[in-house]
Amino acid sequence: MTTRVSAAARIVNLVKNYYLEGVVVEALRGITLDFYEGDFVALMGPSGSGKSTLLNLLGCLDRPTSGQYYLAGRNVSQLDDDELSEVRSRYIGFVFQSYHLLPQYTVLENIEVPLLYQGRLDQRARQRCVRLAQMVGLGDRLGHRPSQLSGGQQQRVAIARALVNDPRVILADEPTGNLDSKTSVEIMELLTALNAAGKTIIMVTHENDIAAWARRVIRLRDGRVESDTRTRPLHKLAPVPAR
């Protein structure tokens, strides 16, 4: 079964060097990868393998030393700071390990933040935020502050926030890293459901049983791709793995 697939994100020979006290640290040494629409990719690797650096580059939080990065068909590798902000605001949704909600805001307001910076926070957009909160199961907590929620609930809010701008790619950085195993499963089920609905997800993890939820597992080592394994076909519903 072959389907026409298009790349949501494509990186070509991506290199990233850091300069730490005059010493060059080669974090990424030329990586070329295609991330397809609707895929669910797990990025794995030991610490120092470059997976976080790669995620930052994919998230347009940083610029590569050399190489190209195409997001939604556009080369975004050498944009300036304002343009990168624009790209983040339009095409990328972030889910972080420690949720990164704004503590002074309510659930609903946290979900609204990306729209605020797009400058299109109207009544319709606000209703959309409410629907997203309902979708992640927090429809009855709209007025709560993050400190009043459990870790799993906070991560759900973060996921709703990542969805609010209808991003091309959801970047999840160890989304279950701070959660117990039961809650982790709930979060992974939510992400899997989103993926099944067509969302492209790229997730950094170092846990094999979390990576097992993905359709494709890429392992990095020393700034290079060590292995790239498709564990599930691209256009089939990802089954829930055995617990």
Binding site: D81, S85, R88, F94, V113, P114, L116
Partner: protein, 457 residues
Amino acid sequence: MFTMVLWGLLLVGMALVWAVPLLSGSKGRRSFLMAIRNLWLHKLRSFLSVLGIIIGTGAVITLMAFGEGSMHEALEAIKRQGATNIIVMSVKPPDDATVQRRSFIAKYGLTDEDYERFRQTLPGLVGLLPMRIFPAEVRPITSSRMYNGRVVGTTARYAVLFQLEPLLEAGRFLSEQDEYPIPRNVAVLGSEVARELFPGEDPLGKTIKFSGKDRAFTVVGVLKDRVPSTSGPDIEKFNGDVYIPLEACRKLLGEIQFFRSSGMRGAEDVKLNQVILTVADTQHVRPTAEIVRSQLERFHTGKKDWDIKVPLDRLREAEETRDRYRVLLFFIAGISLLVGGIGIMNIMLATVTERTREIGIRRALGARRRDITLQFLVESVVQTTLGGVFGVGVGLGIVWLVPWIGEEFFDQHVPAKLHIPSIFMAFFFAGVVGIVFGWYPAWRAAHLDPIEALRHE
């Protein structure tokens, strides 16, 4: 009432300052509301950080009000003397002291000839006021009461020049008919004289006499309390005056005025103690004064028994002093606002560090640098303008309270006059301080590396 209007204006001013972020789209509105919320979240800290601004603006308003108040009174006193007036006075020449004692009668000062010469030769005069002033014991003929006052022989013009019309308690002031054709023996009493001589009575129509003289005078008018003339050594307190027509005064006294003071006997021959010349315009004051000076120098040869006072000069001086004082106060106030601004910057820098992660999150979610700058800038401007409003409140409170306390508890007159521009200046500068000292922290916040900021604990 006035304070209410002021508060209204201030609120309008604040609304204008705040309208800028509010009207610059939903983003501006959000950052504004966000700023209010963040400030409310840290009430005590926000208050402490704007304390400098509160004190600064309060100090500007207070200092300006008290400075203006005392200056205003001084200026008013000078203005009462009249900026278009030239005061020519008789002065006892000090080097004549020995001569006097021998000849017993001191003859000096302005004469009727001087007066006539002024009247006929000086161009552009709109008025001349002659005055003959001498101390006297005043007593009513019906009782044994007595008052040590001052008799001022003058004309109807006196009331015009000193604007006595609203100060008449009862009756009338001297009129031209009191002089001519038949001089009348009438008197107008100062408030204190009337109180002392006729307690609980209506002085109008009563008759008074001056000690040692036979001539009796009928009271035709009583004045209200008058504000003393300029402060200083030659202060004039008008409430002990008795005003009589100049013609009657001449008849009363004859040419020579005998007096006793502190056990010393003496006699003086002074025709006129003072002549106040009034010109049409302030720019004629100095040339006219020069002519008067040269005339007097010519006709009073070798004897400096006269002096010229030009209130306009003192007015200018006082105004210059006031302007210098204003600059100084603004300078002091500027320093205190500067210190307040540094306080704001300090707290804002701490806030930026504390909220590094929040900044990282916002950046990751699509905030541009200018969004972050705006957020922190709005926060600091909201703080300083709020501080400004509080400061204005504190300042107004002090300006109102201190004169009240002085009046109520210490019986002291504390002159305070709100200097309206200073309020707006203080408020405006509070806003400017917010922008200037909020800029660097906001810039720092905007230029944090998003990745580093996200990792910040």
